[in-house]
């Protein structure tokens, strides 16, 4: 019973912080509520007793990506002070409605087969074995992609460094 | 905050409330007294003596006093050295940035009445207590480290004598001068100089 209580609690947290990310005036607060949202999602993972995934979520999303996002907010020029005008009301309403229809449609007509009862032993070892054996190719592709993005970042930083000296 | 100020009065009426209050006083005062974090406000020669007091032979740390850089975390300001009129607004600003139970030790002759610079000096403020209320004056030019330690111990006794919730009476009383609605800032005993005789840089007037 506590799992469902925690679940509703956490999903409430995630939804409210997501809402505040969108609607918040102050960009810094928006960044913080984004982090709160990530931590909420990590809580849901832990609640579904996948602790490794939850820890990874906290480490990667809340710990690194969101903080770099905050860096971006703080360092760029008067991003905080500028009042962003919000005149795309039409788009603002149209797209969420479409998304909602799509989601509800897929949820309704998907066949939910009940889980087979015995707990799936999804541990870190099986995850690692899967990486190294079945889908090794995908793993290497992701590594290449990350390398490319890293090099891109260095080039941009280097160019900016060069221009000032 | 003012609700807290009323509590001591109510507690006294409970049968042995007095004992409870004195116990609370003892604990709080001893804590405040034995861990005063001072903000070094080193202006001139007394700053060197203050550093010497903080060094190995006479050690401030034995009284539990650590040196904090920002005014926010300090509760004792040691004004060490000659205060000039150009520097006065900054001292006042820093004094106001300190959180509330704050004390001031004015170290050296210059902070009491201008010291050796009382005569023939146009730029020295004759006495720090003209702009901030001072609790302990340490005489000497510069005062010896033992004198400064003695001043700190005297301040600790002053703190131990306080009562929770009572308004603290401070030397260098401040009346409001009706003519210029400037705090009179004159010590009644010396009464040497009235404020309109001293031409303060006008930032000071804005601040005070």
């Amino acid at each position: 019973m506590t799992e469902s209580v925690f679940f509703y609690l956490l999903s409430g947290l995630v939804l409210s912080s997501a809402w505040s990310v969108v609607r918040n005036e102050n960009l810094f607060h928006a960044g913080l509520s984004l982090i709160l949202c990530f931590v909420g999602v990590a809580g849901i993972y832990m609640n579904l007793d996948a602790p490794f995934l939850g820890a990874m979520q906290v480490l990667i999303y809340a710990g690194a990506i969101a903080v770099l996002l905050l860096f971006g907010f703080m360092l760029t020029h008067d991003l905080m002070k500028a009042r962003h005008e919000r005149n795309q009301h039409l788009a603002g309403i149209l797209i969420p409605v479409l998304m909602a229809l799509l989601l509800v449609g897929t949820i309704l007509n998907a066949q939910w087969h009940a889980s087979s009862g015995q707990p799936v032993n999804f541990g870190v070892a099986s995850l690692a074995r899967r990486y190294m054996q079945q889908d090794l190719v995908a793993f290497e592709m992701v590594a290449l992609l990350l390398l490319a993005s890293l090099m891109g970042a260095v080039v941009i930083a280097r160019k900016e460094e060069g221009s000032r000296e | 905050m003012d609700l807290i100020k009323k509590i001591p009065a109510y507690v006294e009426r409970i049968p042995n409330g007095g004992i409870l209050m004195t116990g609370l006083d003892w604990v709080l005062n001893n804590a405040k007294a034995s861990s005063m974090w001072y903000m070094l406000f080193g202006l001139a020669c007394c700053a060197i003596e203050l550093m010497a007091t903080g060094a190995s032979r006479y050690d401030f740390d034995r009284l539990g006093m650590i040196f904090r850089a920002t005014p926010r975390q300090t509760d004792l300001m040691i004004v060490a050295g000659t205060l000039t009129l150009k520097m006065a607004p900054r001292v006042k600003l820093l004094y106001e940035q300190m959180p509330d139970p704050k004390y001031v030790i004015a170290m050296g002759g210059c902070t009491m009445h201008g010291g050796p610079f009382y005569h023939d000096s146009y730029s020295v403020l004759k006495g720090v207590d003209k702009i901030i209320p001072v609790d302990i004056h340490v005489a000497g030019c510069p005062p010896r480290p033992e004198a400064l330690m003695n001043g700190c111990i005297a301040l600790q006794d002053l703190i131990r004598g306080e009562k929770v919730g009572r308004k603290r009476d401070r030397p260098g009383l401040r009346h409001i001068d009706p003519a210029t609605n400037l705090p009179l800032l004159v010590r009644p005993d010396t009464g040497l100089i009235r404020p309109n005789q001293i031409i303060m840089p006008d930032q000071l007037r804005v601040l005070s």
Partner: protein, 391 residues
């Protein structure tokens, strides 16, 4: 546990137990920080041949020896900070300003869950032990950035940005340094780590000595302690991101800094020095109370030894400049931690496939490391006087 479930349902008991455990950890942290802060001031005084706090605390200890004066000094500091006025400057943006100290203490408390104080004596032995500690402690960066940005002063903003950059860039060597022992232990949970060190025969310090050194240096940077304390560099940034905090909020930052230091040292002790393994005693299977006590004692001895070294380092080294710090972090620690991973992988393979004895392999790896160090001596870093003649 069963007593509680008798009265209430299964789940409510779980919540109650959790709250009890939380209170226990908070009490432990407060107690250990009190002693740690007092010990730091005494050790610093001893290094600088002056006398640390002497006036507070029981007087008869003070006469006994200089080392035991002023025991209640930190208690006095704490009570005084409680009574101080809390200043929230007007232009600061209040929510993150208040959330920052709260977050940093909660992060510290949650990270203590997995620390194995004794044989079966940890709050809850999650099977993702080490990763849990690292993941949670990556949130401290967030609280420092919040503190820096919201106190709306140039100094604290600079301090906040610098410390965020420092902690982010030192998390990576920290994690990689821990990978070595995880690989040897074959599991993430901390208790399993300690037990693995028992079967392995010797502490994980020997096979991954490089990992231990990198972990130790990276953890000093992670906890913002000198010589890497650029964020609150006294002489430059006027106490960095903490400069706007007063009273109890500052006390939380102060407490969190020491609790983090103890946390990081306890993880180092567990992973590298064999947490509660009493050095020369065979470990009985079902832990007798005597052995549990002995285990807890050795754990505390090892951690406090590491904490003492951190204090010692604090008062001897000058501060590192930010770009040298980043340089050290990325160009030296990170590649070395990869090398350490390689060494541990080699040892693990040797041990599993060829069933060699743990001691032999680790001594061999240490010999190899010594060889490398000798090679490095040839290319010596320029000493000052040689530098001058050359220039």
């Amino acid at each position: 546990m069963d007593l509680v479930t008798a009265y209430t349902g299964q789940d409510v008991a779980l919540v109650l137990i959790m709250l009890l455990m939380l209170a226990l950890i908070l009490g432990f942290i407060a107690g250990s920080s009190l002693i740690l802060i007092w010990a730091e001031r005494k050790v610093a005084a001893r290094i600088q041949n002056r006398v640390g706090p002497m006036m507070t605390g029981p007087r008869k200890f003070a006469e006994f020896s200089m080392w035991t004066g002023g025991l209640l000094q930190t208690a006095a500091d704490a009570i005084k900070l409680l009574v101080k006025e809390l200043i929230i400057p007007s232009k600061t943006d209040a929510i993150p300003f208040i959330a920052a100290p709260v977050l940093i203490v909660t992060v510290c408390v949650t990270a203590y869950i997995v620390i194995p104080f004794g044989p079966a004596f940890s709050v809850s032995d999650l099977n993702i032990g080490v990763v849990h500690v690292v993941a949670i402690s990556s949130l401290t960066v967030l609280s420092i950035v919040m503190a820096g940005w919201s106190s709306n002063s140039k100094y604290s903003l600079l301090g906040g940005l610098r410390s965020a950059a420092q902690m982010l860039s030192y998390e990576i060597p920290l994690i990689f340094a821990l990978l070595g022992p995880i690989l040897l232990a074959g599991g993430l949970s901390m208790q399993k780590m300690v037990l693995a060190q028992r079967e392995y025969g010797c502490w994980f310090l020997l096979p991954s000595l490089l990992g231990f050194l990198i972990y130790y240096v990276a953890s000093i940077a992670e906890v913002n302690r000198p010589p890497f304390d650029i964020p609150e560099a006294e002489s430059e940034l006027v106490a960095g991101y903490v400069s706007e905090y007063s009273g109890m909020m500052f006390a939380m930052f102060f407490l969190a800094e020491f609790a983090n230091m103890f946390l990081v040292c306890s993880v180092a002790a567990t992973v590298f020095l064999g947490g509660w393994l009493v050095p020369f005693m065979p470990v009985p299977d079902n832990p007798t109370p005597v052995y549990i006590l002995l285990g807890i004692l050795t754990f505390f001895l090892k951690t406090s030894f590491l904490v003492f070294i951190m204090m010692w380092i604090r008062w001897t080294f000058p501060r590192v400049r930010p770009d040298h710090l980043m340089n050290l972090g990325w160009k030296y620690l990170f590649p070395l931690s990869l090398l350490n991973l390689l060494i541990c992988a080699g040892i693990a393979v040797l041990k599993d496939v060829y069933k060699l004895n743990g001691w032999g392999i680790s001594l061999a790896s240490l010999g190899a490391l010594a060889m490398v160090m000798l090679l490095l001596q040839v290319v010596r870093i320029p000493r000052p006087d040689t530098f001058l003649e050359k220039a």
